[in-house]
Symmetry: C2
Subunit: 146 residues, 2 copies
DNA sequence: GTGCAAGTTGAAGTCGGCTTTAAGTAAAGT
DNA sequence: ACTTTACTTAAAGCCGACTTCAACTTGCAC
């Protein structure tokens, strides 16, 4: 017999409000069974799903993207290992991009502290900006990630 | 004589819409001079500021947090190096936390692929969940970052 | 079996982060 | 000078991610 959690218990365990859990369910991110009296009962495994959702969210991934990812995790039958690998590598790339962004941000900060200048925005020593000015009318520093 | 950018030019260069730039200005994240005819003229340095904002945002940092950080970068007079160090280390911690989250997310994914199971949520091999069940009624996996 | 905390729903409200709209002004090209 | 394109504002609208509300039902505790 499977042990299940009420919405309150899952909320408490995960640190996510019951209202948010219902919202996630409406969006198809998590699933719940029901009691005879129509109350939700969560499989313990959902706790991991919720954790995954929250982490992803905290690093700037939208719920829609998360849903797409979770949808690709087949609940039912054997998926091809190739499908798995594809999904995984897509997320790997996404995560690597974000890690790179974070490192860039960190380096910007430390660079400006390192060089002793007082304004991040005016630091020419570590960041000669004129490279950009050279590459035509459409020079964009940060093309969109997605 | 300082070279300046119109809002359209800054928008194009940074990949951020003019409306968003005006919004950032209202929130105090960026600054602009004005022409005689009341049009904005941006110092080139603002490009770096905008870049910083967008990167921070993409990794889940709110504009308010960004503003707080940027506010601590004194535009005017010499700030204490201690202030700088404090601000920097606060952000370092923030960034390190986020990097850790990303790595955890990535490990969750790869772990589940590695072990060959088909459901992230049901993977018991690599993630025995019962440790959590043990630590009382308030066990929360992810206390808030901030 | 009764009481009360915890659960249910749909609809409306909130907040952050912008975009759009409307009505008008500035600046650059010819 | 004139035309076109880019800019200005305030106010309203929109979308994602929830929370709150109101009215009602379940289910565990005694």
């Amino acid at each position: 017999m499977q042990q299940t959690l009420t919405i309150g218990e899952l909320a408490h365990r995960s640190g996510v409000a019951p209202s948010a859990l219902r919202y996630y369910e409406r969006l198809g991110l998590i699933r719940a069974g029901r009691t005879g009296g129509n109350q939700r009962r969560y499989d313990r495994a959902e706790l991991r799903r919720v954790s995954f959702i929250r982490i992803a969210q905290q690093v700037g991934v939208s719920l829609e993207e998360v849903r797409d990812a979770l949808d690709s995790l087949p609940e039912s039958r054997t998926p091809t290992r190739a499908d798995w690998a594809r999904l995984s590598s897509r997320w790997q790339a996404k995560l690597n991009d974000r890690i790179a962004l974070l490192e860039r941000l960190r380096d910007d900060l430390t660079g400006c502290i390192g060089c002793g200048c007082l304004s991040l925005t005016a630091c020419r020593l570590s960041n000669p900006e004129d490279e950009l000015a050279a590459d035509g009318p459409g020079a964009r520093r940060f093309p969109a990630l997605a």
